[in-house]
Amino acid sequence: MIVNWYRYSSPISFYPLAGRLARVFGVLAVVFTLAGLYIGLIVAPTDATQGDAYRIIFLHVPTAWMAMFIYLVMAFWSALALGFNTRLSAMMAQALAPTGALMAALALWSGAFWGRPTWGTYWAWDARMTSTLILLFLYLGIIALRNAIDDPRRADRACALLALVGAVNVPIIYFSVQWWNTLHQGSSISLTAAPKMAMTMLEGLLVMTAGVWSYCIAVTLARVRAIIVERERGAGWVASLIAPQGAR
């Protein structure tokens, strides 16, 4: 077990594995998303109060979830990178940031367009919105910081530290705004309460979530492969990897 982890914590052995996984999750992403869209746009009935506008939920909720979840994962890899100085975990964190930013941006964008018909405004300063916005800024800050530091090793550690500081900050923002002002609706999926949503809607939501999730995994792994090649192109094994492909 331990041996396995060590084996895959080196970029050399992770590279081919990531390639295979990326392909699998890429296929899953397409399948789940198509199924989710089918359920969401065709099977699910029009809502009595909101009309068809509510269908934004099938994009909004999965992306909002992923925006938060990816940040957690990124913070986890960052902690590993800082603590154990492992190259691969820093690369994972680096690869996650753009996808996280995309998810946060999609959640904000879809939320804003949902807000227009339902609350009559694109924007309000509420807990979820504010914390999603700040999350987006944190992602962008991490990306910008990396771009601004020439030495990748130093960039790794600086970004990891920023990600961890941000990880403390996001929950604080969430609660600070919640105590101060609330407009956004609360969680409607919980394990303890009876489901409040229609069954088809829930199904569609879950399938879409699986699709978005798979997409994130596939894209991140593909990106991490690109990062490995870029960063380790001095090393022999990467050179031998690139040469035959270039010849083809």
Binding site: T130, G141, A144, A148, R153, R157, L161, S176
Partner: protein
Amino acid sequence: MSPTAVPQPDAASVSAAFAWALGRDLRIALRSKAELGVQLMFYVIVVSLFPLASSPSREVLATLGPGVLWTAALLASLLSLPRLFAADFGDGTLEQIALSPRPLPALVSGKMAAHWLTTGLPVAVLAPLLGEQYAMDGTELWILAAALLLGTPILSLLGAIGATLTLGARGGGSLLALLVLPLYAPVLIFGAGAVDAVRSGLSAGPQLSLLAAGLLLALVGTPFAVAAAVRIALD
């Protein structure tokens, strides 16, 4: 560690290190009085801008007051952050500080304290005077001052993280702002919320306690984060 290891930083060496950095930075800051002047002038200009420019009604002013005073405090803090570590980094002082046997977190804390004393504290003192412009009454001004006294140190602490992370990075000022402003958000929300609470007849207790809790958290955590960032920057 072996028995002959260097003694772990004890309270005396921590406070000596803190005092060293604080004294040194204060002395340098007071040699260039103009910089302090620019800081305060910026604060006064920003705060006076709204009543001057838009001559709003008293109620509107009163609504605006806390937000404006807080945002201005935040921007004033931001304005001086780039210089907090960059000068030391550029002239090699930071290397020497990081190589000193004294505990680095205590040393950087001294620097952050000096930053607060030269930016946050003057703002907290000035704000109640400027608050008069915003039709704020006695209690509100007191609460405002209290909130600023609790909140501005957090700004200096969190800001220092951004300032050290951007050392040796391209793009300075606005990159720093981009990293730091999201971290500032909760302080701003609670800080401005404190005055709003008293104004709407509630107690400002919760907000002030939250600020105090945040300050404690920041006091405990940031010195280590900043010390780590300093070491990363020097590598």
